[in-house]
Amino acid sequence: MSSDATVDLEQARAEVRAWLAEHWDPNGDKRAFNELLADSGWAAPTWPVGRFGRGLPRAARRVVNEEFRAVGARGTGQDVTNLFAGVVLAHGTEEQQDLFLRKLVSGAWRGCLLYSEPGAGSDLAAVQTRAEPDGDGWLVNGQKVWTSGARESQVGLLLARTDWDVPKHKGVSFFLLPMDQDGVDVRPIPQVTGGAHFNEVFLTDARAGREHLLGELHGGWRVLQTALGLERQIMGSESSGGGGSRTPDPESPWTRVIGGVDYLELARQEPRDTEIRQRVAQMYTLEQVNRWNGLRARAERGHGAASPVASLGKLAMSRIVHTAVQLTATMLGPEVLLDGPEHPVASEVNRSAFAAFVTSIGGGTDQIQRNILGERVLGLPKEPEVDRDVPFREVRKAEATRRFS
């Protein structure tokens, strides 16, 4: 790294430190702080000035994170973790950026992902929710499912069909759907982890205005790729599997600590046999190599090269979380038969055994990730697609396998 860059980083550190000293009060009003934070540019330091960022290089993220962590403040790093704002920044018009970015960055608005449907999961291009022109906007009808956080959201990133007479990828559009309206009916679905973080969303003549179309009409597939890319990057990063900056609410389906309980601490509590020692070493290896892959991806991106390592994180993280719960469960022994608040360790390990599937199913399953790695990174040919080049109207469509309400 050149010494100029180092000077810039140290200057950024001094600036963020001064800003926090002036504005951060651990006992203060968090909402007011978030508003100030959005305008300061420290929430997303690598985004452009005037777009809630400070135009800093990627390397500055670490420095800013460190300063926030040092005082216990939250809310930075959104240039990586706020996929809703990220996709608006990437594809929104100036008008849309003005309309949405500030609310999303300050946390005044939350977002949800209205992609999956009863008949379209891995095959998202097969969505059947329709958006039809109505005045200067669209009327939306259809059903979405598995929509995490829909009840708390003001904006839904919606994938809907706008043309039925072209092949499936070419007839979908992407909308920023206002969730607070009569046509949007959100019904919770009880989850295996307890709670009901995800939902069914019924759309009946829901309205999207002209300003809510993101990207081009019928060009939704391209916008979706950006959004999915951001989501997978988040799910594959070190912080997604617990620890990190994320403190999930009690209903969150996420893994809070990889394995449900720190496997290393648990392993150190008593002498362990050879098998467990081997498995702990293997588990530690999986975790470390993924962390180093992340560091390497950052270094390679810094050199302007597209890094194949960047796309490996989600699949790697899936194996990490599944392996970890097997290990912690083995170490707990028969205690893991129990559940409930009187057995907090067992219930957290068991909860995490389920939560591991969020990583291996949500955001594109492991199988879909392998297809992507095989095709986009290794350059292997795609499978023959029976619905390719066929107008979507004529394609065989999936039906819902179950209803919840």
Binding site: Q278, Q282, L312, P381
Partner: protein, 348 residues
């Protein structure tokens, strides 16, 4: 730690190593040595020593070496592994690591010889013992043992150097990995020189160097399988379009890239004298050995029947992979070491 920051010099080194090994260790060149249990291509080694300075790559400049870092050494070894180079490069770099960790005039003298192309091999099985300054015993499966001038006898707590030209018998072995020359060396009251130093760090460095070479072989095994999956057609389409094949290769990609991260993180830890080395080194060694076995084995599966022929190179990588499971210790023992260093206790 500044791992993964590749300099322009390192990019150039990588290109030079790749160019060199692709020439002197082409498949034809590797095959020419398969039936030679003791020898290697001396001409190529002389070029490695004198044109590229590879024997003394990590030997300090004032001892006629190139003074390169462990990361540089890893870059070169990765390419050597990719092309299954069979000359005494790994031995030379391993010996360099041991000698640099045991500083003193004796080591310096050996380092200077080494930089000049003298083959220095390692005895790692604990088969020799010392009595009154004299070493005796039979040490098994010494890489480059037949051609070495000097043997470094590595113990857990001590280290000796023996001049092999004086009192030793060496028996070249037919190794399963035909690309690498093994010997059984027997010492009978051979005069030995004691080397003192940080043996723990020396052992860790050996792991990092071996891991780098294993990584290169794994990368090539993957690359060959991917290329074949694009080219071979069955059922009217390239076999790489079948998910059973595609997913196998996607999983391998994850492993090989992860192994690469482990190797270069470990090399950076070695260069920076970081405490992390003691965990990272055995981790990288165990992991890359297993990744290579998976790559070579799945690589054969992807190639189908052709992989079962002597003529196809897939078996050469499989042989390397099997050797990587045992040479200088197995992955299991390295994971055990890692577990200890993570603070796990054994059942008494």
């Amino acid at each position: 730690m500044a791992a993964f920051d590749v300099t322009d010099e390192q990019r150039a080194l990588h290109a030079a190593a790749q160019g060199f090994f692709s020439e002197v260790s082409s498949e034809a060149a590797v095959r020419a040595q398969l039936g030679e249990p003791a020898g290697f291509d001396r001409g190529a080694w002389q070029r490695a020593v004198h044109e590229l300075g590879l024997a003394g790559l990590a030997v300090p400049v004032d001892l006629n070496g190139s003074g390169a870092s462990w990361t540089d050494a890893a870059i070169v070894l990765e390419e050597a592994g990719r092309f299954l180079y069979g000359g005494p490069l790994l031995s030379s770099l391993m010996a360099t690591a041991v000698l640099r960790e045991c500083p003193g005039p004796r080591s310096d003298a050996l380092l200077a010889r080494l930089a000049d192309g003298a083959v220095v091999a390692l005895s790692w099985d604990g088969g020799c013992s010392v009595d009154d300054g004299l070493l005796s015993g039979t040490t098994r499966y010494v890489v480059d043992g037949s051609s070495a001038e000097v043997l470094l006898v590595l113990g857990a707590d001590d280290m000796y150097a023996v001049d092999l030209d004086t009192a030793a018998t060496r028996e070249p072995q037919l190794a399963f990995d035909r690309t690498r020359k093994l010997a059984v060396v027997t010492l009978e009251q051979s005069p030995a020189v004691v080397l003192d130093g940080d043996l723990r760090r020396a052992h860790d460095l050996l792991d990092v160097l071996q891991a780098a070479e294993l990584l290169g072989s794994a990368q090539q095994a993957l690359d060959l399988a991917v290329a074949y999956a694009k080219e071979r057609v069955q059922f009217g389409r390239a076999i790489g379009s079948f998910q059973a094949i595609k997913h196998l290769l996607a999983d391998l990609l994850l492993e090989v890239e992860s192994a690469r991260s482990a190797v270069y993180y470990a090399a950076a830890a070695a260069d920076e004298g970081s405490d992390e080395l003691e965990r990272v080194a055995p981790l990288a060694r165990a992991y890359t050995a297993d990744v290579l076995l998976q790559a070579a084995s799945d690589g054969m599966q992807v190639h189908g029947g052709i992989s079962f022929t002597w003529e196809h190179p897939a078996h050469l990588y499989f042989r390397r992979a099997k050797a990587g499971q045992q040479l200088f210790g197995d992955p299991r023992s390295h994971r055990e070491l890692l577990a200890q260093r993570l603070g796990l206790r054994e059942i008494a």
